[in-house]
């Protein structure tokens, strides 16, 4: 058994899954029938309700029931039947334990780590923008997409990486598909990361521009984090909970404080334009990337993780208590006509592109390979961590969609249409929104901004302010006491906090990638402790995303409107690369008959992304096609005209440049993915011809650990653990540092 051929040799007798005792027991049949029935009723209500009030809870429970069934049946099928996870086989964490990156970690703790790493602003923002097409298309895709595509990708990538000692996505593609595919994937990953960082930063800029309250509280997160860093370094080393408790308290104080200062001289000084915020973010991103992690990044990450978990729990509770009613239509006319102001294009493919992360996120493949698989204790736990983690992210996306769908839709469109369309004032925005066919008035819009104590909510694009309005409405309804302004800024703070964490972590990861790549030709540059190398690489990465950010911020057509599709397509293209790898590996392992598990989502994702890329590059509609857009403005400029929303020749030139650049990037990403896919097709054909091909899977080594697979240990698992304890006895404490906290230690 060389172990390099296939996974079929392992597992053996218990291939059908874990010992389940009462597999078809009456109780379990009844429970799952009930879950299915509740889910079916919820979906029916959502699909059939027209013109009557629909509670948001139908959406919530339709999603939850679907997740439960998917996790119980489909995830289990993939884990045990398709991948054949085998708990008799030691994971890399067990074999290579070094306490640093390879480290056997409790499954529930690793679930938390993994979820904190994958969940960010994407699932919050995408659904908010997609709400312009109504709540139904978004809900369906978030749920169906995660079950059959997103969670499947995260799970399979994690499993294959785990079987290869936690190799990264790029490494696996190079070794399993080929060097050209590997290089294309590497470039794609780097370029996509730059776009993602720029778009995330753009969301923060749009949320903080002209908002002294927001700027004040976000700016204070930096000294708060530095204080925590110093506290943990010198005052009370290692007392993370203590430091985070102090940090969260200070953070809440900073949010309240923003309300006090906004009408003072300091408030005026903090009323910053978008351009100044770009500069501030770029400087911040650079400094954060070269500072030691203990000083800023690590403590801020604690804060952002706690806020993230806190807000998600609060939001779920808030929805249950407030039981808001959906204000959005199930499907708007924009879905059919593709003329929506938030982003251009028709339902297919653009609703899928816009939702992105909450249903399927290529970026997760970078985290599911590399970091997380090096810490998994037992193979079967990838079901909980990979599939379960992504279900949780999808739940966040559903909550965000609900928040956008429960606010007044006139307000929604006034907030999310670009300034070029709304004209920027309450009066002009109300007229514009009325023209779209939604009811609102200048007074209503003014009252809405007064309620959250912002100067204006008109054209606050990017999704974050809309989500914050939705959250503030739900929270103040659920927890009483008014305080909509506090909750609004609380939500803005929460989003900005983890976008900033993503920006500095992303800059650092990008810097490492760059140093590593250039290090292949210039050895010195690859040395991570060489200061000039750090500084140059950081400056390059920050410079790249900073320029895209600046282009987006100053774009007369509206940066979010122009860049978000690029971001969404880039992310979905990365997912196509990851799903391609998984399909190749399934076939190379001789599992052609199960290859549909990743091949179907791959095919769908390719159809969506390639259609979207094609339309973005070749569409003759200037609102959709980047090059047609550039051409339209070029012709007008040459004829000496100024085309709205541009106001002068300079802006005309700007639009022409931006649209051309976006078009080139779009085409470039799509080509890189096609290179990977074509190479993969060659490997697949070869593998099908001979049945299976050797892969780089590590040979099986028997495991000495006994751990439960899911969150709660089953009776059989408890028994197995007790049995193992008895056999290993005193020796149990010798492998690793694990025993103190797991089930055994606590019960």
């Amino acid at each position: 058994m060389s172990g390099t051929i296939t996974t079929e040799d392992s597992g053996g007798s218990s291939s059908a899954g874990p010992a389940t005792g009462g597999r078809g027991s009456m109780k379990s049949v009844l429970i799952w029938t009930a879950v299915a029935a509740v889910g079916a009723v919820c979906w029916t209500v959502l699909a059939l309700a027209r013109g009557e009030t629909v509670s948001a809870l139908w959406m919530l429970f339709a999603a939850l029931c679907s997740y439960a069934i998917a996790y119980r049946f489909y995830a289990r099928f993939i884990t045990y039947k398709v991948l054949r996870a085998d708990d008799k086989r030691a994971t890399p964490a067990e074999r290579l334990q070094n306490g640093v990156d390879f480290d056997v970690t409790d499954r529930r703790v690793l679930f938390g780590h993994h979820f904190a790493a994958i969940a960010g602003a994407g699932p919050l923002v995408g659904p908010v923008l997609a709400a312009q097409m109504g709540y139904l298309p978004g809900t369906i895709w978030i749920v169906v997409g995660v079950i059959f595509a997103g969670a499947v990708q995260d799970l399979t990538v994690m499993f294959f990486s785990m079987r290869r000692n936690g190799k990264s996505l790029g490494q696996m593609i190079r070794e399993e598909i080929g060097i050209v595919g590997g290089i294309a994937a590497l470039i794609a990953v780097f370029a996509i990361m730059i776009i993602i960082l720029a778009v995330l930063a753009l969301i923060v800029v749009n949320a903080l521009a002209e908002s002294p309250w927001g700027v004040f509280s976000i700016a204070l997160t930096i000294p708060i984090a530095i204080f925590m860093g110093i506290y943990l370094r010198t005052i009370r080393p290692g007392r993370v909970l203590e430091a985070t408790g102090i940090g969260v308290a200070l953070l809440l104080l900073a949010i309240v404080g923003g309300g006090w200062i906004q009408d003072t001289g300091l408030g005026d000084a903090l009323t910053l334009s978008k351009e100044w915020l770009v500069l501030a973010l770029v400087v911040y991103g650079f400094v954060a990337s070269v500072l030691p992690v203990w000083l800023l990044l690590t403590p801020r990450d604690y804060l952002s993780t706690f806020m993230k978990i806190g807000v998600i729990v609060l939001l779920a509770l808030g929805l249950l208590i407030a039981r808001p009613v959906l204000q959005a239509e199930a499907i708007t006319d924009f879905a059919r006509e593709g003329t929506g102001p938030v982003f251009a294009g028709s339902l297919f493919p653009f609703v899928f592109i816009t939702i992105a992360c909450g249903a399927l996120s290529g970026f997760h493949a970078l985290i599911s390979s590399g970091t997380t698989p090096k810490m998994v204790a037992k193979e079967s736990q990838v079901r909980l961590i990979g599939y379960g983690g992504m279900l949780m992210e999808s739940f966040v996306a559903i909550s965000a969609l609900i928040a956008a769908a429960v606010i007044d839709q006139g307000l929604y469109f006034a907030m999310n249409s670009p300034a070029g369309a709304t004209g920027g004032t309450a009066e002009s925005a109300a007229a514009y929104v009325n023209g779209l066919g939604f009811d609102t008035s200048a007074q209503t819009l003014a009252a809405a901004s007064a309620a959250v104590q912002e100067d204006t909510l008109v054209s606050r694009t990017g999704g974050a302010p809309t989500l914050a309005v939705g959250i503030s409405q739900i929270f103040s309804q659920a927890f009483g006491g008014g305080g909509q302004a506090f909750w609004y800024h609380f939500a803005i703070m929460f989003e900005a906090l983890f976008i900033l964490t993503a920006v500095d972590a992303g800059t650092r990861v990008g810097r490492f990638m760059l140093q590593d790549t250039i290090g292949n030709v210039w050895k010195r540059f690859g040395d991570l402790s060489w200061r000039p190398g750090n500084i140059i690489a950081s400056a390059i990465v920050v410079g790249l995303w900073g320029s895209v950010l600046y282009i987006g911020v100053t774009d007369p057509l509206g940066g979010v409107n122009q860049l978000f599709p690029l971001f969404g397509i880039a992310n979905q293209l990365l997912a196509a690369i990851a799903l391609t790898l998984c399909t190749v590996l399934l076939i190379k392992h001789g599992k052609l008959r199960y290859a549909w598990v990743t091949a179907i989502p791959l095919a769908w994702d390719l159809v969506v992304t390639m259609t979207a890329s094609f339309q973005k590059v070749f569409s003759g509609d200037p609102r959709v096609g980047y090059f047609t857009q550039a051409q339209t403005y070029r012709e007008a400029r040459d004829a000496g005209e100024v085309l709205a929303p541009a106001q002068d020749q300079g802006q005309m030139d700007q639009i022409i440049f931006n649209s051309t650049l976006n078009g080139v990037l779009q085409a470039f990403f799509a080509l890189l993915v096609l290179v990977v896919v074509v190479h993969a097709a060659v490997v697949i054909t070869r593998a099908i011809r001979v049945g299976q091909l050797p892969t780089t899977e590590e040979p099986a080594v028997p495991s000495n650990l006994v751990e439960p697979a899911g969150i709660f240990p089953t009776a059989e698992e408890k028994q197995a653990i007790a049995e193992h304890e008895r056999l290993v006895g005193a020796g149990a404490g010798t492998h690793g540092t694990f025993d103190s906290g797991s089930d055994r230690g606590r019960s």
Binding site: V109, A116, A117, V240, V293, A502, F512, T737, R746
Partner: protein, 70 residues
């Protein structure tokens, strides 16, 4: 009767709080120090100071960037 019910409730709450604390300490890595002490005792090593231990962990984090997604 009620007394035992209260006591039982109190114990359940205490247990829940203990579990939350356990989870958060594990999640943030604070518990790594305890694990290290257990490890040292098991192997008869003299442990380093907590300050040194946390610095070593911070240095390791410097080379292993955590990725945060969109």
């Amino acid at each position: 009767m009620t007394d035992t019910a209260y006591a039982r409730g109190g114990r359940a709450i205490a247990r829940a709080l203990r579990n939350v604390r356990w989870y958060l300490r594990e999640l943030t890595g604070e518990a790594r120090w305890d694990d290290y002490l257990v490890h040292c005792t098991a192997h008869g090593h003299t442990p380093m100071s907590r300050r040194e231990f946390e610095r070593a962990r911070a240095d390791a984090a410097e080379k292993n960037p955590i990725s945060r997604c969109c």
